[in-house]
Symmetry: C2
Subunit: 135 residues, 2 copies
DNA sequence: TTCATCTGTAATAAAAAAAATTACAGTACA
DNA sequence: TGTACTGTAATTTTTTTTATTACAGATGAA
């Protein structure tokens, strides 16, 4: 669960409460208290996944790409997670050790199962439900 | 799921296969391919949680603190996770924004639920089972 | 006793990752 | 044609993680 999930869900929550009014990156950044360029960067990613629409130019800004009740939290998680969390492809364990030789494979499998239960849990919640907490 | 979990489970797997023979930090470090001081540091933590026993001095080394089948993977996870993953207590969202004001509380709750399902999943597996994968 | 081989721990440095900042081209409205 | 936005890249700063070095203390053995 990295910091990007937090930013992404914050952005999406703001948009889901905006009633189709466009919000600017500066406004969003003000609510999160981070730099507008970071907001635009994360939105750039979420837009590619279809979760957000943007309009350029004067009076431009952002809105949800699909209705909030169709956005499962698992979709946000998937959109934001970079690569397999599995550690450090760099740290190559000792290939001459029976444990070192295989452990990454087994951990990979274990982590996959973990992701599955997380996704299942997050898939049971959607953005509309999450947003109502702020009423 | 951070890098320390990977190191911790690697250490514990080695110990569980050592048949009560003591392993040195240097041997363990050689299998993981990291620095022996890091191994000792992580073991220092796992020892405080009772998962590992150590013996100082010449011919010293490490062994499991309790039988492998009594070590749930969730216990390893708990031992290793530092603080609530919840992001950045530093990044304080805008308190004048209805979303910014409450989002950390709601995320905290959400993350708590996530931890619960993870722990449940990991609690169904123990170190002995994990170790048999290496036979 | 004294040497050799370990652990325990702290201090420091190096490397990697994350976050912030700055800058500016492109777009659209008025 | 000016203004207010987005899109994106380049760069710097900060934070976190990992590695290294060092050495005191413990223990067993010659």
């Amino acid at each position: 669960m990295n910091g990007r999930f937090q930013i992404a869900i914050h952005i999406l929550t703001l948009l889901s409460r905006a009633n189709n009014e466009l919000l600017s990156s500066e406004y969003i950044a003000g609510s999160i208290n981070i730099n507008p360029a970071l907001v635009r960067k994360e939105i750039s990613n979420l837009r590619k996944k279809g979760l957000i629409k943007s309009k350029e130019g004067k009076a431009g800004g952002y809105s949800l790409g699909i209705p909030a009740h169709e956005i499962k939290l698992s979709a946000i998680y998937q959109a934001v997670k970079q690569q397999q969390i599995l550690g450090q492809a760099k740290n190559v364990p000792n290939p001459y050790c029976p444990v070192g030789k295989q452990i990454n494979k087994h951990l990979q499998h274990l982590y996959g199962e973990m992701e599955d239960v997380l996704s299942a849990k997050l898939g049971a919640l959607n953005l509309a439900e999450f947003s109502t907490k702020f009423d």
